[in-house]
Symmetry: D4
Subunit: 220 residues, 8 copies
């Protein structure tokens, strides 16, 4: 497979990477027309296409130009899937703390899926009800890489990191109020995780976490 190109999370960032099956763009700060135009252009590469941070209005504009495009509500993502083969060697687990964290978790899920991975998700397993997380310990340890999304105090990656022996990608979310400072508190907490297998991406960056996890999971 030759190097295809794709817009990264912001417009006009093209990545060139061998064996790539998906191209992506970010819908934020774009009109429906702009998203539709870029999406169609990316679709001409014959690969999967992913547009994150999009609205239903933007999807309607895309749908007119690319009939086969679909919309993933929870993830707020427009997708065009042509290559559905699995490139990942194992399963990617996506864990999230509260209901409000689900959109970010779903962005990670859809990113990982369209890049050719099996994904298993574990939602509403926040640390204040530790038994719910522990009830899933067995399943969690089967994953080849784990993504953990949490807002407020961002404690979940530390606990999950202690339960598994694989890389954990932590995604702070902007969920919270007052001294959560729109995700800054969760971000800082995750960077200071006492579990050594945790690395961190930007606030609400479900796409980045799904992307890194996919790269890890397809390592030969």
């Amino acid at each position: 497979m030759k190097r295809s190109s794709a817009c990264a999370i912001f417009p006009s960032k093209i990545w060139d990477s061998p064996r790539w099956i998906t191209t992506a763009l970010c819908g934020e700060r774009k009109t429906g027309q702009q998203v539709a135009a870029i999406f169609r252009e990316l679709a001409q590469h014959g690969k999967n296409v992913l547009a994150t941070r999009t609205t239903k209005e933007q999807f309607a504009a895309v749908k007119k130009k690319v009939r086969a495009a679909g919309y993933r509500d929870l993830a707020r993502a427009i997708i065009l899937q042509r290559d559905a083969r699995k490139y990942g060697k194992g399963t990617i687990a996506v864990v999230s703390a509260g209901t409000s964290d689900i959109p970010v978790a779903e962005e990670a899920v859809v990113t990982a899926e369209i890049m050719g991975n099996d994904v298993e998700h574990f939602y509403d397993v926040g640390v204040a009800g530790i038994h719910r997380l522990l009830a899933n310990r067995e399943a969690l340890t089967r994953a080849r890489v784990v993504i953990v999304c949490a807002g407020m105090e961002g404690a979940l990656p530390s606990v999950v990191g202690g339960l598994v022996g694989v890389p954990v990608i932590a995604v702070p979310t902007s969920v919270g109020y007052g001294a959560s400072f729109k995700g800054l508190t969760a971000l800082l907490g995750m960077l200071n995780s006492c579990a050594s297998n945790v690395s961190v991406v930007n606030i609400d960056n479900g796409f980045g976490a799904g992307y890194v996890a996919s790269l890890i999971n397809r390592l030969p």
Copy 2:
């Protein structure tokens, strides 16, 4: 018992509170002579005396003037205990995450003890090794109030808060490096705890946590 007086955590702050058995002072930014002078003055009230954030040099100076004074190394506290009766109704649990958090936890312990409480401590039960904490769940639920000390990401109070049905006093510690910002990250994490039974005191303020816990524990 009539209202006694005591210096609070900074010099010359006198608190007046009915049924008080202990007076306290803070040794920070004071010479050995100054600590010794204040300590002797407080000792003249005939109550217990507690001096926090003190050095061995300050203790030596105190010892010369108040023979019966003792030193609690881990807590860095000088104490004079005359009234050893229990005023607390139940047990105060003191939980800490890592070895480096122990001095702050011990300051809470000695404060609670000298104010007439039974204290049980649970150290090195950080969230990255959740089984160590869970192994103590039974014991934790017996406490009437719980103090939790943690640095780095400060996640422990959220997990403990979910395990017990009593008030939890969270103490962020300055343990960590880089983006821990000397305890700020732990402080913010604790303020955003998803466990609703958590309230927070200042960074490294083991004294304050022991004090509040004592007030709670002696409520009739």
Copy 3:
């Protein structure tokens, strides 16, 4: 009473606590339909139900599904009260500095009340008019635990803390402008209180303060 469950201040956080009479949810970032659905589900446990940070529109949606639900305007809370017995041993005092702090104070009041406490409130007793606070000193000292809500410089908990011998829960509010930084200044002030009996919850977290105070007040 067996362990009931309730959504905490953010969606899908369930707390499990013995002898619990109230379940709660947070309306923020939810549609009327979502709040109504969760509220009805919680109502099926046969306990009291509390929904904080709700709008009148959300209440209208709830009202259609749960006839007995009521709305507390000032507190912006939807309530369903079935068990009106008193579980608290004494009175919880709720003190606030200015008129703009009242919504947060009322959230604390309604939380404490629905959890089975007698509540007495003292509003508009800010520190710049200290005589108004002092006029209530007698009444304040009768409380078993005190909640203090203040924005701007957040000085009130320190003064109240010096007047009473019981635990004080401080709630910074986002009231202010310019360098109040949406409650950060009040939060920092309260964490640095020179009164040792003060612990702090998140900005505008009246629910958390009412919750912690209730746990303290019902200690046997």
Copy 4:
């Protein structure tokens, strides 16, 4: 009196102001030799001289060159007083919260005194023991301008501001630990004072407060 000149709080800042009786310099980041040289130069104007933030070593160096110079220990100030007439119309009150705030308060006192004012000080009247402050209410209301120095939560100016009907100059001090952030918390608190008669100077800037208060007090 013609315009004299004086170094302000940092070296080589000369102020020119009619009817000025005092010249000043700041000793910070200067060797004893440098302080002595500047002090002698200022002394040649025949006015009072004030050097703030100085050490005893710097004073020793000054003393060799300017025999009549004296040292104010608590204020860490070197002074040379030639003109002792009173230029202020009334009294300047200097209020401070805790013992650790006294050096900053004393810097304000010595500045106000050497600029020709009667000064009355009220120390250790922090808000957690409000009765100590109120005991001085009578005396406070006699002042023509009030300086208030406080660290930690910086609440004192709000309370004092509510007690008097004259301008209050608030000086945040770096006293505190953890979330006091070296005076930042006190500074923010004072800027958000709910008392409208409060204005603020930089952290630990006792000199600036004494200076502004002197300007106010000598207004005809």
Copy 5:
């Protein structure tokens, strides 16, 4: 004149001060009805009334209840002036840097005027065009106290402070973008002024500056 009462800048803050001729309230976060109700209540004291941070809609509501009320557009203030005597001993100068700073400056002007002062204003004299400021030097030095309003880098108080020998009240404004951080940069700059006669109030607090300046100007 007996002590009148007035709401300070936030609702329900009552100040009690001898010889007061004006009562005030803040319109922010209030409905027209609420402002009108408080305004009428204050008007019953027979003094001047000032409502800051108000809209034309709020004024319309006030006007229905208090016929004699007027609106100062630039200052966004509703006023009711009954006592027009001068209580200030001299003139208050109000200086501002740019056009966008004028609303804050006007709030200071209207506050000072309704409290019985002569006010002279100097607008659009920012430091990047220093000749415009210097052209007014003569006039500036005649003032008894100077208020300086500036956003962006907040440099103007330092320059003005060096030109006059009287107290300067600096008001940072939220004018600017990017790294002005809504007035924080101007605030910090003013607190670090190298002119010693500068003290500072909160961001956009024209009322506070006018208030403090009035207290200074009416000192006997």
Copy 6:
């Protein structure tokens, strides 16, 4: 291999992970005696032992108790290597920007090596001399995972991330001055990387980066 245990980067944090060959501890805030005692205890598990952030004095104390221990100067690490088999599937590349970043890079190198990986390093390839980095492009693309250490503006991970198709672990270092804020600027830059394959660990956390990279590299 059964689960061994090891102290993580702070004292008393034990990790339990299947197939683990190395145990580790952090020397910071410990005496030589303490490090030596823990090191010997860990050595009794028969695995490799790694002590990071240690001094030569601490090494001397360890050497007395564990003869076979060695010291890696640049990495400031004490090591005991018994199992030298390669567990990693490919090569880990460690890239750093400037000479001052080398200690952090070396901590990553020694961690990866003692955990059974081949490591190739590329130092002094900062972005201001982009040709030096590009000269190594060929070699970089052979790595299975890349660690990038940089201080100051922290731009290097973005450039490296664009050159390779594998996961990049970014380590901000505290190298810089002024507005580098001890690594905060580099940390923020890396979290905002426009390259989607970058995840981040704490400031100066070479150990964490080496640890995560090892987990990735040994994935089957």
Copy 7:
């Protein structure tokens, strides 16, 4: 050419500079009427006029009063060009990282052009696709001064700075999300650039960069 005058980036800031051919104003926080009035006034000086940060509505208002005015969409600028001579000695290069940075870059372009410079732009050459930047190296080195606009991590000026031997003006943009903090991260990164030929202007200040570059380019 005599000194003309022009409003700088905020209203009423007039600059006076010999040989000036352009006057400018900033449309932010102004009504269409206000912009039109100032624009017409500036136009009466007979020079070029530039209004930045304007909307199409503001342009419509200007167009009614100044027929010859034109609108530059991408730059959001209203211009009136009368003097089209070249005053710059060489070419100004404007480089930007992503599509979202283009409005800021275009503001720099239009500023430089209306001040009499030849401008060459290089867009979408972000550091994650370094080959696109390097493909323009030859062209870049021909510029006499280079402006670089970038958001997110703000790494581009460091790389460009290493490629050219002339002054680089870096403009952080507010492009990004989460920990980009509205351009603060890019700003800090640029201030810490390891390329020594970089100086920085405020976030999104394309006008300032174009202005400084013009001053440099017209140096004799």
Copy 8:
């Protein structure tokens, strides 16, 4: 002149730039031996050599290896000057606010001089004594580029920027205390300068300012 190479402000950063006459290194965090070794290596290129942020001890070590090296005390710089030709077209003015800013200003001076420029300096011309600055207006306007160093509120570049029609490079210094936050306040102030001809370098980065100014001054 062919491209020479030189270490930039941090070790091992080599810049390659045509027509370069000077190579430089930064002494911070280096032993005397390390500085001496690098200095000698750079000296072998036959160009001028500049080592900034050095101590007298480091100079002594250099002196032993490179006899012709000299030390500039105020600038804390070691220099080796072989090529003394003037490459700059005009004069670079270096302006500073207070005595404490002089070391940073001198670093800019020595950098500009060794790169072949005529430099004129104007010290102690802070904005609080504006007449001292204005007295030099004539001389300032003769410069081809101006460097302005200031700490505290950092207001000087705005005033200077308004006086001259050439590029101004602003250097915030770490001079100040309290809310100066080690130069952050000055940095923010300069970035928000209302003078449009100002660009900014890192705190205390006199070298960078001298470097950029030299690039500007030698433009043909």
